[in-house]
């Protein structure tokens, strides 16, 4: 492959990995690993029709959920603006997404409330936004419970700054403030953006992008705390949990790491579970991209988000060629996307 072809393969790998991870995880979402194996009779390693007892029920195999559709719409807005990053642009993108087919079935607790507030939905009075006591305490709980929405839409900023993690982190902070205006959510988003940006470097490895994630988490948390309108609430640290996830992955044989990460780090919707779990699985796979991706699909609970993050990371690191050849046509066809075109557009923009 020429240098240009390798670069294009990384752009497409990031976008396709995020989309495919989401679509793979849509079928396993909300269940424990034991229940996933019981429902499908085996470890899930390809697109499946979501069963009737999950959030994505009624949708068909290959269709994405909120995890990929939000960053997909955000990417379209970033490309249309010529790569001009602003909080306003991210809000516009979120409002457009709020009118899409994905909003009603999938919008998480935090994003649902932000979209309704942005659209000035008359049924969304102040009390239901910030809790029935009218205090901000509930907002903290909502954020803590559903903040991984910040992380799944972090990779587009990295596509604007391939190879430059710090620049990707700065833009991610601005874009994330549109919906998740707190240091913990932003810290998780910063980790993902920095890692994806670092994965574009020629010498990139699992080690180098994990280091970039730790640095990105620290830097973005600091930048977030320096914002004037930041909302601070208590919660475990994304940075500490990232360290724990990496340590856990290193201390277990590959076949035991998924369970160990699930048990200690957790794989729920909290930002300090979803993001560290994805990086733990990346390390546990020891560079075997599909092994990491399938671990994310089978770890249980927030599998769509965790697999979407893992897919974007391994896709950027290894290129789209790492995925089975049917992924791209299945995803494009099931969702009416043209992911190659979006990948090319990002590449053109950065020329």
């Amino acid at each position: 492959m020429t240098a240009t072809e390798i670069l294009y393969d990384k752009y497409l790998g990031c976008i396709l990995g995020a989309a495919a991870g989401d679509a793979l995880g849509a079928a396993t979402e909300g269940k424990s690993t034991r229940k996933i194996y019981a429902a499908f009779g085996e470890r899930v390693v390809d697109f499946k029709n979501p069963p009737d007892d999950c959030l994505a029920c009624g949708r068909k195999k290959g269709q994405v959920t909120d995890a990929f559709s939000i960053p997909y719409v955000l990417s379209q807005h970033l490309l249309a603006s010529g790569g001009h990053v602003s909080r306003h642009l991210a809000q516009e993108a979120l409002m457009e997404w709020g009118k899409s087919e994905w909003f009603l079935p999938f919008a998480g607790m935090t994003t649902r409330k932000v979209v309704k507030r942005l659209n000035q939905d008359s049924s969304q009075e102040l009390w239901s936004y910030s809790g029935h006591l009218g205090n901000k305490l509930f907002k903290g709980h909502y954020y803590a419970l559903s903040s991984n929405g910040a992380a799944v839409k972090a990779y587009p900023a990295a596509l604007l700054h391939p190879g430059d993690p710090d620049a990707a982190v700065h833009d991610t902070v601005e874009l994330t403030m549109a919906s998740h205006d707190d240091p913990l959510s932003i810290s998780g988003a910063g980790a993902v953006a920095a890692a994806v940006a670092a994965a574009f470097k020629e010498e990139a490895s699992v080690f180098s992008i994990t280091q970039a994630a730790l640095r990105g988490a620290v830097l973005s948390e600091k930048l977030a705390r320096d914002q004037e309108d930041i909302w601070i609430y208590p919660g475990p640290s994304v940075v500490d949990r990232l360290e724990m996830a990496i340590e856990t992955a290193l201390n277990h044989p590959a076949e035991e790491a998924m369970e160990a990460i699930s048990a200690l780090i957790g794989n729920g919707p909290a930002i300090a579970e979803t993001v560290p779990a994805a990086f733990g699985l990346l390390v546990a796979g020891e560079g075997d991209a599909l092994s990491s991706l399938f671990d994310a699909v089978n770890i249980g609970d927030e599998t769509a988000a965790i697999a979407s993050l893992t897919g974007a990371l391994v896709g950027t690191l290894k290129g789209a060629g790492i995925f089975p050849p049917h992924y791209l046509p299945v995803i494009d066809q099931a969702n009416g996307f043209n992911l190659s075109e979006q990948a090319k557009a990002f590449m053109e923009l950065n020329k």
Partner: protein, 356 residues
């Protein structure tokens, strides 16, 4: 500065240990009511110092309107549960648990502002009222919360040293409100720690071992009878919390680490390991175990209730400043000492039965 009382050479008294467990739980709840939902930094900014005694809850907390020493849902639901079990002569069954919860829910001062969503739904079921569907979304995995563990400590008080019966009755109590294995694992960890702490020969190490045994057994039995939900493991997080607590550093440094690494939120796999972490990080210091939990931030009242129940049972009433009990009894209109006397009659029979 906090005053740490010197250990007195007092004769072992089961009733004293039971009373101390109730005082510790109530004191933790009341102190935590003032700090709940804040970060450690926000707590210090709000009060000008770490909270080490009863304070008036600020206006933006659930506890707003409470006076210093007033408890929330955590201790009050434990109190009603213990009282109901006393009235059932120590028998723990679904009827005793349901009637305690329904009775408790009639007290607006404890229930209306404080009760969590999982417990509210369970009480509706107990009353035979319809439970509204949740837009078709299965919420099972979001019910692995700390609501059952926060009121479980009295189960350990009724069965000093008998972990088997403690686990059996803890499962009965937990299943009424929290039908999932992580909630059972967390509840059994707390009640087993309390049960072991009541014994004359108890030391901190044995109490932590009992907690780990309870968590492990609760997880195993819970997987057989309760819903299988995706969740981090209470056992695994407990190991990590104890590693932090028994590692290097001051109790304050360990408090920060427990908050950052284990988490101090509503999830059962955060709250229970964190509470036991504070007991382990403050050996010989019951007030220290409570103060750590009160200042870690987030769900401080629930975590401090659990830390206080265990540390009180282990160290006895001499470990607490003398104003705790009268302040708590007056602020809440509850007779904590007479409940302790009633529990100890039943616990004493259980203890003597074991020795035969």
């Amino acid at each position: 500065m906090r005053h740490i009382r010197k250990e007195k050479m007092t004769k072992y008294s089961l009733e004293d240990r039971i009373l101390a467990s109730l005082i510790g739980a109530a004191a933790g709840d009341a102190m935590g009511a003032a700090t709940e939902a804040r970060t450690t930094e926000q707590i210090i900014a709000c009060f000008g110092h770490p909270v080490t005694d009863f304070e008036t809850p600020p206006p933006d907390t659930f506890g707003a309107g409470n006076v210093p020493g007033q408890v929330t849902d955590d201790f009050s639901s434990a109190y009603y549960l213990a009282d109901s079990i006393v009235n059932h002569n120590g028998t723990v069954n679904i009827e005793a648990v349901s009637s305690a919860l329904v009775d408790w829910s009639k007290h607006a001062v404890f229930f209306d502002r404080f009760a969590g969503p999982t417990t509210r739904m369970a009480i509706k079921r107990c009353k035979g009222e319809p439970v509204p569907p949740s837009n078709g979304i299965n919420l099972d995995s979001r019910q692995a919360t700390n609501g059952a563990a926060m009121r479980i400590s009295p189960i350990g008080l009724f069965h000093p040293g008998d972990l088997k019966k403690t686990i059996r009755d803890s499962i009965t109590v937990t299943m009424v409100t929290h039908d999932n294995y992580p909630a059972i694992s967390g509840a059994c960890a707390i009640s087993c720690a309390v049960s072991r702490a009541l014994m004359p020969d108890a030391d901190l190490y044995q109490v932590l071992q009992a907690a780990r045994f309870g968590a492990t057994e609760g997880e195993r039995l819970g997987r057989e009878i309760a819903k299988d939900v995706p969740s981090p493991s209470v056992v695994r997080r407990l190991d990590e919390a104890l590693r932090i607590a028994m590692g290097p550093g001051t109790p304050e440094e360990k408090m920060h680490l427990l908050g950052r690494r284990i988490g101090a939120g509503l999830h059962i796999a955060e709250a229970v390991p964190c509470a036991l972490g504070f007991v382990a990080a403050n050996p010989g210091d019951a007030v220290g175990a409570i103060v750590g939990a009160v200042n870690v931030g987030y769900d401080t009242d629930t975590i401090a209730t659990m830390s206080g129940a265990i540390a009180g049972a282990l160290y006895g009433t001499a470990a607490f400043p003398p104003h705790y009990l009268p302040t708590l009894e007056k602020a809440n209109g509850l007779s904590i000492s007479s409940l302790a006397a009633k529990i100890s009659v039943i616990a004493d029979i259980s203890l003597k039965g074991e020795n035969q």
